[in-house]
């Protein structure tokens, strides 16, 4: 096991466990406001201090982790769920109409500045976690379609696929039974990276007010709220920011570690 894998795995699990734990227990309520206790630096009572409403920052971060993870995870799910079948289909009929259409659509989505479109979508349909998921998820589709197609194309030239064809299996069946299991590793690694990009995107959207809406805590909005307080109490901006950095760093290390562990020859596209 590489150092990346261990460190990345540890960092990621800390956040996942914290998010899970927050369903059952948080050090303090995230809804109870205590203005008398506002903007307190980290102490024994509030391990990471309190925000401008006197809420416990550690508890906010734990519940916020839920939002970030849910948004990023579902967005990766959308990307995989639609992108992988499209990529498989495109590779199964290389150079055909379908391949051409899918790849052109992909190029087109790639050409859009994803953040701008995410802003457009959430602005038009109203800011919410769901719309943030859709906006982020759409841009995951071409990423997964492209890498699935690329990997599948090289597999289609291999002997065991030819054998399956000779045996009379249909292209769809070969794609599902033989191609998909062989690209799974690659998809897991890319999934980890898109997950980390999703966390960053969600933080950005909720920072500008287009992500999860109050009272649902989110890391991005904690930073937005902290902005005017930063000179009074730097910790309200410092701590949520470092949390995002740690989570994204953890996922990236995990992705690198998984790539090396699963197949050192695989190259991952960083979109």
């Amino acid at each position: 096991m590489s150092r990346n894998l261990i460190l990345g795995g540890l960092l990621t699990s800390v956040f996942v466990i914290a998010a899970m734990l927050s369903f059952a227990w948080t050090p303090d309520s995230v809804e109870a406001m205590n203005i008398a206790n506002r903007l307190k630096p980290p102490s024994a009572d509030n391990l990471l201090g309190t925000d401008h409403f006197g809420r416990d920052i550690l508890s906010m971060l734990m519940v916020g982790a839920r939002t970030s993870i849910a948004v990023a995870l579902v967005a990766v799910g959308i990307g995989m769920g639609l992108g992988v079948p499209l990529g498989l289909a495109a590779a199964a009929r290389r150079g055909g109409m379908l391949d051409e259409v899918i790849m052109r659509m992909n190029d087109l989505i790639f050409a859009f500045p994803s953040l701008v479109i995410a802003i457009l979508i959430t602005a038009v349909f109203g800011p919410s976690a769901t719309n943030a998921i859709i906006a982020i998820g759409i841009f995951n589709i071409p990423v997964f379609a492209r890498i699935t197609r690329g990997a599948a194309l090289s597999l289609w030239k291999r002997e065991f696929i030819m054998a399956a064809q000779v045996a009379g299996k249909t292209r769809t069946r070969i794609s599902v039974e033989h191609i998909l299991p062989n690209v799974a590793n690659l998809l897991i690694v890319q999934g980890t990276i898109q997950f980390s990009l999703g966390i960053l995107a969600e933080a950005g959207l909720s920072y500008v007010g287009l992500g999860a809406q109050p009272p649902i805590p989110s890391w991005g909005r904690m930073l937005a709220d902290a902005q005017t307080m930063v000179s009074l109490a730097p910790h309200v901006a410092l701590i949520p920011g470092l949390t995002i950095v740690a989570m994204v760093l953890g996922l990236n290390l995990l992705g690198d570690g998984l790539r090396d562990a699963l197949d050192p020859r695989l190259k991952v596209v960083r979109a």
Binding site: I119, I121, V230, A237, G241, V245, V248, L249
Partner: protein
């Protein structure tokens, strides 16, 4: 070469058409009628109807799409629902903040990434390389708007070297403007520099393994000479793509960074327009940004063909 350009031009036109249809479509299905929104809930139905006519909202969707696109082609971006001023003028004013900001950041990111990438590649596996790669790992994990806040905390609030936000305008002189854009540009540039450094490094490392590099060494060049004379120009192709893509990221990223620094750029315009449901402004700014991105990618494609003749036959 001509065939290549024609093919790229056709795909450029297709992309722009599809993009405009998508943007128009998304805005079109937006809930709420802009005319009733502008006039408030107590407006008389006939006033609303009159305003709808004035704004052209009573025409068919196709007519409105065509007049929107046709207008943009001639530089007429329509009239803002809220301010009743030409959108083109509003965009032009804000552009003078966002575009210099993106270019400033692009310059910074390139200036950081080139030396850092070359430095790391030349010392593969040594402590210097590990330090650079470690820094890039961190760089890609930092949300730029948070980094911006930290810059404000340190350089504006603590050290008081820069103001925490706002923009004096270019009338106050070039340097005053540049100074106001410095922290935002650094915030935008650093995460991008991390990505660019990685690409530069790995692209150089690929090249260093090539036969022609061995030949260069064999004919007596030192590793450093071979790197500068033969390695660098060959490593530039992937780097060029990323720089092209980064411009898009920077323009879009500027939208969020402008919020941190209260800069009156396109980002502020877009968020104001969103809260006021000034959809014609949203539509036009988004289209403009998409246009800029697609154009830059097109130009990068052309630049490739100039740099690498082999690509001219491959589309």
């Amino acid at each position: 070469m001509l065939g290549y350009i024609v093919k790229r031009l056709i795909s450029l036109a297709m992309s722009l058409i599809v993009a405009s249809v998508v943007i128009f479509g998304v805005v079109e299905v937006a809930p709420g009628d802009p005319a009733s929104f502008m006039l408030g809930i107590n407006a008389q139905p006939d006033t609303v109807a009159a305003l709808r006519t004035e704004l052209g909202l009573d025409q068919s969707k196709l007519d409105r799409y065509l007049s929107w696109v046709g207008g943009m082609l001639t530089g007429d971006f329509g009239t803002s629902y809220t301010y009743r001023t030409p959108v083109a003028q509003m965009i032009a004013d804000r552009m003078w903040v966002s575009l210099p900001l993106a270019l400033y950041a692009l310059t910074l990111s390139t200036l950081i990434a080139f030396p850092a990438g070359i430095f790391a590649a030349a010392r593969r596996g040594e402590p210097g390389d590990l330090a650079v790669t470690g820094a890039t790992q961190l760089g890609v994990a930092i949300p730029n708007f948070w980094f911006a806040m930290m810059l404000v905390l340190i350089f504006a609030i603590q050290l008081r070297w820069f103001s925490a936000g706002g923009f004096p305008g270019w009338d106050g002189g070039f340097w005053a403007g540049m100074k106001a854009l410095t922290l935002p540009a650094i915030a935008l540039a650093l995460p991008q520099a991390a990505i660019l450094t990685r690409v530069m490094r790995s692209s150089l490392l690929d090249i260093l393994g090539e036969d022609f590099m061995r030949t260069a060494r064999a004919k007596g060049l030192s590793a450093r000479q071979a790197l500068w004379r033969h390695g660098l120009r060959n490593a530039l192709i992937p780097v060029l793509t990323i720089i092209g893509l980064q411009f898009a990221f920077l323009l879009a990223g500027a939208i969020i960074i402008e919020q941190v620094f209260f800069l009156p750029g396109l980002g502020r315009l877009i968020f104001q327009a969103i809260t006021q449901r000034d959809l014609i402004v949203v539509e036009s700014v988004v289209m403009l940004l998409v246009f800029a991105v697609i154009m830059v990618n097109f130009l990068v494609d052309l630049a490739y063909a100039v740099v690498d003749p082999r690509l001219r036959t491959r589309v």
